[in-house]
Assembly symmetry: C2
Homo-oligomer: 137 residues x 2
Amino acid sequence: MNEGAGWLDALCWNADGLIPVIAQEASSGKVLMFAWMNREALARTVATGEAVYWSRSRKRLWRKGEESGNIQKIRAIHADCDSDALLLSIEQAGGIACHTGHQSCFFRRLSGKDGKWEDAEPVLKDPKDIYKGNPES
Amino acid sequence: MNEGAGWLDALCWNADGLIPVIAQEASSGKVLMFAWMNREALARTVATGEAVYWSRSRKRLWRKGEESGNIQKIRAIHADCDSDALLLSIEQAGGIACHTGHQSCFFRRLSGKDGKWEDAEPVLKDPKDIYKGNPES
């Protein structure tokens, strides 16, 4: 598979050339991350079997786990009915997807009738112990 | 909770005033949909306990299931580490989230070394039998 292939053209890329991506752990069903890919990120993801995203803040390809070692092995890739979102079924190395040291990035839960975002899951590892340099990979 | 509340201000809304939203079935862990909310959609979702999205194509609030009856009851709402994506834990009425009659919108799987999106899940109900009018709710 390559960047010019029809399976890439079949997707709806937004005005910035990106598509939203959900990463779900295959074994637990837990949704771990939400991120974005451009065509090259998706092509590399498929070619390598490991998740590569587009970092909008750093404006570059970002191989998940490149610093932390917490790579994401691809088990399956699904597109939605409108072809404008992707769902990755992955194996999460290290059991931690979030740069904060939580298993999932979705660790804050809305609670209480007055509305409050509360940390609902534990930090499994201190980010200082996960990263030497870049705190987002 | 209301639209001017701090819990809404705590989220990162994009340039169009929207935030991406993942809907996951609480009982099965299956990711059913990806959609968008504006502030009013999220405020109504919280107030009513049922998912209300912003339809970008129709440019209006869209109470999921308003035509089909396949509403989504909210069990929990989580925000991610960057506060720029939401994860809804829901109960899917009718067991069908997609306007195509599939359980999940993510029914097309990338397969084969040459790359091809293939329908990987069954149509549970003919869309004609789901909708009388609007085919997207």
